[in-house]
């Protein structure tokens, strides 16, 4: 009963001093807005990586040509040690492997049709690609073993390529020029949308790997192999078996580094977690800096307000307020201000995140974690910033305070 009346009294006091309340709140609003936005972007990035892993498949792994330890595409020197024979040997000798899809690629190839042209990524793939990637033709057909054998000049195009070169017309049976070679379109790929990395997965042209190697790029190596396992639980063991097999086939002496890289979903997940961890440290820093600043502002205004309100505090104590009643009121005022600021900040942060997403393609995740973090942080700031001023107010002697 009495608590309820003190709470009401504190709210009225905040309502009477709107400018003071606003000034106290603004720091927390900014801080929590920043925290909420950063959390949204951070979680968005993590989610994107996770969805990429899921899309890739938990029973799959990638073998890339070229060594190195970090994630990402092999860069720098061309590594020509990975061959289609490696892929065939893996499938033949390791029983845990259900399928292997070797591929090579060239980004930025010009594809033209009747004077219209655009650039797309050219992929050389085998007929197994469709099964291993679970990504076949939506219309027409995919590349067949016969295409590979004949080094046929046939291609399967992505939806973006189809729309930009043919519009609504049926592309199947038409001839497109890729580089200097003419290809017959035999199919249109199932649309995949934007890749987690931001690239358009439908802006691709797929041709038989043999055709790619002999007729287009004139190389005898491949860029990588996607390996599909019978069972995802064999992942680590199989990765090690593949490694041993490839080292043996590439005649690598002990101590010599791998000239290929095996990337498993576990590795991708771990990398994502590492990135998220770094992000979280950054987040904590942003949160800490902005909220410490906001907290100082609040503590300061509260202290000023305590000396400004000496007469009020003296009066309240003279007419029977206990020290703890005064302390409760001041902490409540402080927490109310920060919590309200926090809630406003959460709303602003989420709105900002959504605007950011629609304006820039940066993935964001509007989550309850962000909101909870905002509520917890802002309450804490209010409590911590309010304690000292509240104590000071509670310790005032009524006659001293009444004198003003």
């Amino acid at each position: 009963m009495k608590r309820g009346r003190i709470i009401k009294s504190a709210f009225r006091s905040l309502g009477r001093n709107k400018l003071r309340t606003f000034l106290m709140m603004i720091g927390v609003v900014i801080g929590i807005t920043a925290v909420t936005m950063v959390v949204s972007v951070g979680l968005g990035a993590e989610k994107r990586v996770m969805s990429r892993v899921e899309k890739f498949g938990l029973k799959s792994m990638m073998v890339f040509a070229g060594g190195g330890r970090e994630m990402g595409r092999p860069s720098g020197e061309q590594v020509s040690t990975l061959r289609t024979a490696d892929s065939e040997a893996m499938l033949r000798e390791i029983p845990a492997i259900a399928g292997a899809a070797p591929f090579n690629r060239t980004p930025g190839k010009t594809v033209s049709y009747q004077g219209e042209s655009k650039t797309a990524t050219l992929f050389g793939v085998t007929s197994d690609w469709a099964a291993v990637w679970d990504w076949g033709a939506a219309r027409g057909r995919f590349i067949t073993p016969e295409d590979e054998q004949r080094m046929a000049r046939v291609c399967v195009i992505g939806r973006t390529v189809q729309q930009e070169l043919f519009g609504d017309a049926d592309p199947i049976g038409e001839q497109v020029r890729v580089g200097n070679v003419l290809f017959e379109i035999v199919g249109v790929l199932e649309p995949k949308g934007t890749s987690p990395g931001g690239g358009d997965m439908d802006n691709r042209v797929k041709i038989p790997l043999s055709t790619f190697m002999r007729r287009v790029a004139n190389v005898d190596h491949i860029a990588g192999i996607k390996v599909l396992l019978h069972d995802g639980r064999d992942m680590e063991r199989t990765a090690e078996t593949i490694r041993e097999l490839l080292r043996e086939r590439h005649a690598l002496a002990p101590g010599e580094p791998d000239d290929f890289r095996i990337i498993t979903p576990t590795e991708v997940t771990q990398f994502a977690e590492k990135v998220a961890g770094t992000f979280n440290i950054f987040l904590v820093l942003v949160a800490a800096v902005s909220l410490i600043a906001g907290g100082f502002v609040i503590a300061n205004i509260m202290l000023i307000s305590v000396s400004e309100r000496r007469a009020e505090i003296g009066l309240r104590k003279a007419i029977g307020a206990l020290g703890k009643d005064i302390r409760f009121q001041f902490i409540l005022e402080s927490v109310t201000v920060t919590l309200t600021g926090g809630i406003i900040g959460i709303a602003l942060g989420f709105s900002g995140a959504v605007i950011l997403r629609s304006a820039t393609q940066i993935p964001v995740a509007v989550s309850w974690e962000g909101a909870a973090l905002g509520v917890v942080f802002s309450t804490l700031v209010g409590l911590i910033a309010g304690i000292q001023p509240a104590r000071r107010a509670a310790a005032l002697q009524p006659i001293e305070a009444l004198r003003g």
């Binding site: 009963m1 009495k2 009294s9 009225r12 007469a311 007419i319 029977g320 307020a321 206990l322 020290g323």
Partner: protein, 247 residues
Amino acid sequence: MKPIVRVENVSKVYQKDHEVPIHALREVSMEIAEGEFVAIMGASGSGKSTLMNVMGCLDRPTQGKVLLDGDPVSTFDDERLARIRNKKIGFVFQTFNLMPRTSAMENVELPLVYSDRADIGGLAEAALKQVGLADRARHYPGELSGGQQQRVAIARALVNDPEIVLADEPTGNLDTRSSYEIMALFQDLHGQGRTLVVVTHEPDIADYATRIVKITDGRIESDLENQNVRRARDELERLDDSVEVMR
């Protein structure tokens, strides 16, 4: 009549570091009974406010004993004193001490905020009615005259139905007419059986009380029944007459 306040050999010494101690009260003893209207008179620095603070449980004596309604309040801790102040004492200050930007009603309700009562409905309205300001309940102090503000403060002092009302220079910041109005209100309250103590340095104001205690240098100089109590209402009427004449 039962005694409300009993002060026994009370001394109060203010001692700041390395300064000469100030003896605000020197072995003062007095008793205020239920229904009395006492004026405590004295020059500034005589110790009259200190006496009021000690009686009002705002301050503890350095020596001696204070009994309020039978309780030895001079031995109580801060928390118990706060509860006693809330329940048994109504304060009226020279500067009104109303909360700004807060309606008359909310100002009067303030002591109820800290009361242990479960039901406080209607008490503030009744107190405002008692001081004749029921129609000003929603006004802010800034919208009221000085006299009206002091009446709001008196309503606040009355809202918890205290044993005693202590007023420290209640007319010190008021014009003559408002002063008479306040004293008339005090006389009405006294007529209804309230126990009142008014601290003042103006003999003119003390004349409305039924008992006048004079304090000099922290000692009671005289403590006499007022043989010739003036009626504040008479003064108000006289003021109204003179206004008529001037017209």
